[in-house]
């Protein structure tokens, strides 16, 4: 065969101008190619196609939230009142932060059962260091959160390096760290925190100026629009498919409406809660890590195929350990918020339904239990569902027995939706 490498090597242009052949490849011949029409019609047809093939995304949970809101509002008009909703958001922050860590672990295709105990232990560590030993609050806070990170890394080490299933490692952690927490708290069992301190402020501080809430809403909406717009322009310039301006505007409006409604609600009560600012900040920051950095891409890759990730040169153990460390960190941070709510660390910190609520929040929000799919936003949506149910039941004076059963049913429904949508996706070839 006579071929000339130097000549054919040059066929791949190093920069620019890749549009013509790429366009040709997409528009030509094959009728199975997914070519999206321009404008709204294309947007809707793609939306319909996604629904049919089981890519439900956040749709079930948003619909669920609306149904919950309607049902409780009909029973008690205080449910959608400013005070109740503001409190609901603040209470949701602690569990929500823990759920964000769970999302990361679930994307790996693993589970972390120790987060409840770790959050309780972190609260106890903080209380003992700050109250009993007189350590400055900020230092005690840092050490408490760091202890969560170390514990998580330890779980990760046993899982990634020793090869013990994560389920078992963290189950051991569930018992062990709870025991350590009781030990740390000592005979007394309850340590009250300084009710004007830093940790107390986590859930008790409100930015009372009405410009705070509206400012944050405006900032988020503007940032979203500008980033989407810039991204779209770059894509256009590079000759790859981009969102039309109309779609960006539509998405911005879809974000702006709830953002301003919630900001208005907060201002009707005490103002913008610090807890909500931190929770949203963490969700946005970790969403960025997950979707926009190569570290996040590696986590998804591990959730898809460990072997493929390994062959692509990804350090599998390091990623696994870091994700469990992150889960421990988020559990500790969430523990601080939960301690702040009751202004104390006690023997029941991190116990009860906290672990189940955190995992349920992640799953209800749309993160797959099977690994490889998920968003940090699902922690936010999921925890809102769980907290709405709890809050609504409390308003109506329904016993916690019924509340557990209903939350259990909602979790089951979420997992069923996850499993069914996964099956539909597989049959539509999009698992």
């Amino acid at each position: 065969m006579s071929t000339n490498p130097s000549e054919s090597r040059g066929t791949e242009p190093a920069d620019g101008n890749g549009q013509a052949p790429a366009e040709g490849a997409v528009t030509a011949v094959d009728p199975r190619l997914l070519v999206r029409q321009e404008g709204f019609a294309g947007y809707w047809s793609e939306f319909g196609r996604k629904l049919r093939s089981g890519e439900l995304g956040s749709l079930p949970v948003v619909v669920g939230l609306i149904i919950i809101a309607i049902v409780f509002q009909l029973r008690d008009s205080a449910f959608l009142g400013a005070e109740n909703l503001s409190n609901l958001f603040v209470t949701a922050a602690g569990t929500g932060l823990i759920a964000v860590g769970i999302v990361f672990v679930l994307i790996l295709g693993e589970i972390d059962l120790s987060v409840g105990s770790v959050s309780g232990l972190a609260a106890a560590v903080f209380a003992v260091l700050n109250v009993n030993h007189g350590m400055p609050e900020w230092l005690a806070l840092v050490l408490a959160i760091l202890s969560g990170a170390v514990i998580g890394a330890l779980h990760g080490f046993f899982f990634a390096r020793i090869g013990v299933p994560a389920f078992v490692v963290t189950l051991a952690g569930l018992l062990g760290w709870n025991g350590l927490m009781l030990q740390v708290l000592g005979s007394n069992g309850t340590i009250n925190l300084d009710d004007t301190g830093l940790v107390a402020d986590l859930t008790n501080h409100y930015f009372t100026d009405i410009s705070a809430a509206y400012g944050l809403a405006t900032l988020s909406v503007a940032a979203f629009f500008l980033l989407s717009f810039r991204d779209s322009r770059r894509r256009e310039a590079a000759g790859v498919p981009s969102r039309p301006l109309s779609e960006i505007v539509l998405r911005t409006v879809a974000l702006a409406v709830p953002a301003y409604v919630v900001a208005w609600l907060f201002n009707q009560y005490k103002g913008l809660p610090l807890a909500v600012v931190i929770f949203l900040g963490v969700v946005v920051a970790l969403d960025f890590v997950l979707r926009r950095t190569s570290y996040g891409r590696k986590i998804f890759a591990l959730g898809g195929s460990v072997e493929a990730a390994r062959r692509a040169g990804i350090n599998v153990s390091a990623i696994r350990i870091s994700v469990f460390a992150l889960s421990g960190t988020m559990a500790a941070l969430g523990g601080m918020f939960l301690a702040s709510q009751i202004n104390a660390a006690n023997q029941s910190s991190g116990a009860g339904s906290l672990l189940m609520n955190a995992i349920a929040a992640a799953v209800i929000g749309g993160t797959s239990l099977f690994g490889g799919r998920g968003k940090t936003w699902s922690a936010l949506l999921g925890v809102l569902v769980i907290q709405s149910i709890a809050s609504g039941m409390a308003l109506l004076g329904i016993a916690s027995a019924v509340q557990y059963m209903i939350t259990g049913a909602v979790l089951l429904a979420a997992v069923v939706i996850d499993s069914v949508s996964r099956r539909t996706q597989r049959s539509a070839g999009r698992a």
Partner: protein, 270 residues
């Protein structure tokens, strides 16, 4: 013509490999030139995979020399092989089903701009690469799970090309594919040759081998058993080199069919 007669880009000299009591490879020689497709054939257990592992650095050889562009080199890790410019596409593809095509193509070598994934640049380069290889997939933004077997194979091959390799090793690329998809992959192999790459194609399928390979290197029981110019060789000659004799199930069957012995086919190969 000039390139084919030049120094081989990859040459194996006297490669031997032993697993415990089994001599898996004995003094194997193989040469790959730029712009050439060499089919590596042999029965199960002939040592094809062991040889590929030795080249790819997964299971280094015990003995023998690997020459890269005329220089002897040591390939003791997969990473070394990749740095030299040897890309391997394994039979089980190693794609992440949940990631989209762009994500899979750039997995482990993401393009990062100021610490952030440069999705636009990756998508542009992905489309460009797929276009130059005339690979058609529904969209570069759908999960790999939704692609057909042939499309997945082409994505895996395209992925191996991102590192600008000079030699690509394809392990049974058409084993699980239908007629149409096999043709697509074979087209792609020809395009790799046109781009001046050396291709080592491992296959059990004689039709595929004859369709795209320039030369066929036969392994039998861990030894070279002849190298054939495809255009000047009949399928029977290759098969008898693979099976190792002119008296075996295949030739006996042939003989029965033709009503007379077919003794020339395997001469001089053993």
């Amino acid at each position: 013509m000039m390139n084919v007669s030049a120094t081989p880009v990859l040459a194996l000299r006297g490669i031997s490999k032993r697993f415990g009591a089994v001599q898996a490879l004995t003094d194997v020689e193989l040469e790959i030139r730029c712009g050439e497709v060499v089919a590596l054939v042999g029965d199960n257990g002939a040592g094809k995979s062991t040889l590929v592992k030795a080249i790819a650095g997964v299971g280094p050889a015990d003995d023998g020399v690997i020459e890269w562009e005329g220089r002897p080199v040591t390939v003791d890790r997969p990473h070394t092989a990749q740095e030299l410019g040897i890309a391997t596409v394994y039979q089980d593809l190693a794609l992440c089903d949940n990631l989209d095509v762009v994500g899979n193509l750039f997995l482990g070598r993401e393009i990062v701009r100021a610490g952030v994934l440069d999705e636009v640049e990756m998508e542009r380069r992905a489309r460009e690469l797929l276009a130059t290889l005339s690979i058609r997939i529904p969209s570069v933004r759908i999960p790999v799970a939704s692609l057909s077997g042939g499309q997945r194979q082409t994505v895996a091959i395209a992925r191996s090309l991102l590192g600008e390799p000079k030699v690509v090793i394809l392990d049974e690329p058409t084993a699980a594919l239908g007629v149409e998809q096999t043709a697509q992959v074979l087209d792609l192999v020809e395009r790799l040759r046109e781009r001046g790459l050396g291709v080592i194609l491992i296959s059990h399928n004689m039709a595929d081998v004859r369709a795209v390979a320039d030369r066929v290197a036969v392994l039998r029981l861990g030894c070279n058993n002849g190298t054939f110019e495809v255009r000047a060789t009949s399928q029977e000659e290759i098969i008898s080199a693979i099976t190792g004799a002119n008296d075996n199930a295949v030739t006996r069957r042939e003989a029965r069919r033709q009503g007379e012995g077919d003794s020339e086919t395997a001469e001089g190969n053993q």
